[in-house]
């Protein structure tokens, strides 16, 4: 039994017959880092929202660790593109929100440890409005980890960051993944990001899975390695198949 099991998922938003997700199936193993790659509007966020339990599929089912997904749960942490931190809480209270809601007596100890892990020690009393985008996103990750979820769902968490910060955050996320041994589903529209991060890349196109590919490159990966280029080209080919402009 795979850790995450997505079976024959269909989802539409009201307009009849038009499926945003059309028969999507895939599996994720425990501790695996999977990237879902696709153009904007192809249904990536819809897929993540279904996995998180925010919305319900028309048909099909999702199970995580043997349990069917029917509503949001602290077992599935989510990191949002616009971080979604609570502006009225300082960093410590943001991270402690989950464990406190779950009546965990160690809420603050856990939170402090996580804040240290994302390299923001000393910022506990600071409010989100004075953080940079990259810092806010790291708090978002710490907050999602604070309830000790089995699965971390990340919806283009680096999408709003500048190029330099993105690079740094990629390394950071891999480090956090190795330290925490979580299973991660990471959504992106950047081919380079997917190839850099993932154990496996699932390419989503017009609501269907059109490629499910293991990335067999040793970490740390270099964008300039020939193997990296090969994967990049392969994904470009799939993603731009019917477009006029194919660079190559």
């Amino acid at each position: 039994m795979p850790f995450v099991n997505v079976r024959n998922l269909f989802k539409s938003y009201g307009d009849a017959g038009k499926y945003v997700l059309n028969d999507v199936s895939f599996e994720i193993n425990e501790n695996e880092f999977v990237c879902v790659l696709g153009h904007s509007g192809c249904g990536k966020s819809t897929l993540l929202n279904l996995l998180a339990g925010f919305i319900k599929p028309d048909k099909g089912e999702i199970s995580v660790n043997g349990q069917f997904v029917s509503k949001p749960s602290s077992q599935r942490g989510v990191v949002f593109q616009d971080h979604g931190l609570f502006p009225w809480y300082n960093i410590l209270d943001n991270v402690a929100f989950g464990p406190k809601a779950l009546k965990n007596k160690d809420a603050y100890r856990i939170s402090k440890r996580l804040i240290k892990m994302v390299d923001l020690e000393g910022y506990e009393k600071v409010f989100p409005s004075s953080l940079s985008g990259g810092m806010a996103q790291r708090v978002g990750i710490a907050r999602a980890l604070a309830t000790n979820p089995q699965l971390l769902l990340m919806d283009e968490p680096l999408g709003a960051l500048d190029a330099m910060t993105r690079e740094k955050m990629r390394i950071e996320i891999l480090r956090i993944w190795k330290e925490t041994k979580k299973t991660i589903l990471f959504i992106t529209h950047s081919i380079a990001e997917a190839v850099y991060l993932a154990d496996r890349v699932i390419v989503l196109k017009e609501g269907s899975v059109c490629l499910d590919e293991k990335i067999e490159i040793e970490r740390p990966r270099s964008v300039h390695a020939p193997q990296f280029m090969d994967y990049t080209k392969k994904f470009e080919k799939v993603l731009f198949e019917h477009d006029e402009l194919v660079l190559d």
Binding site: G77, A101, F127, S130, A146
Partner: protein, 287 residues
Amino acid sequence: MIDELTKGPIQAVAKKSMASGKRVNRKNHSKFIQALSLIVFLILWQFFSAINAHFIWFNPQFFPSPMIVLHTTWDYLLDGTLIQAIGASVIRVLLGFAFGSLVGVLLGIMMSQSRLSNDLISPVLNMLGPIPVFAFLPIFMIWFGISELSKVMLIAYATFLPVLTYTMDGIKNVNPTWIRSAMTLGATRYQIFTRVILRAALPNVFVGMRISLALAFGALIVAEMMGSSEGLGFIIVNARNWFKLDDMFMSCMLIGLLYTLFNYILLFLESVLFRWKKDGIQSAVER
């Protein structure tokens, strides 16, 4: 080259502190001009009433100078009636404003949480909303008597509608990502409501309260003018019978001062409660 490298960051820091210094300067500058505006206003007032007192274009009693108003205020202060009048007005407006705000917030929460209560209550409010509050004063006086209660209720009524509207608006416009975050963090419905929705809507409640404050003062003065034997509004109607314009001017000034004071208290509370907010456009672009 080395020189430039080492100077770079220091200059940057220096520039930064200069910029914030400039901002403080600009703030002081603006405060100064505002104070000047008031002083010029008072001087012109004094000047014209003095000229009028000299040439007697019209009865000088009808246009007392600031000095005379100040003198009258001093007399009122000495014989104790001023403190009594201000006390009566402040207690009325405080009680009415607090009660009205409370009802507005509670009803706003209720209406935003239950469709049924919204459908039941909002048509009535839409009908009552446009009617000027003062039209209800005689009705309130018959219902609640010519007592304190009718005045407090009128002030509360004037207060509650904007507070209710802004509370509902705040609750409706909570960023859905916050609610989704809270759900994935294991919060219960009740926790989501108290720790996310209400917290997010609170700044809006205060905006509603500041709008209500002006209405509450309006209701206070009208209520005191219509059926009362003390308070700042009473001083105005009472003075009318004796053409004591200095009393009227004094009362009007004091009402303005009280309102300003209350408004500052609300602004102060906001700045303490919502420290977490960015300070808006001021800090977004430097000018």
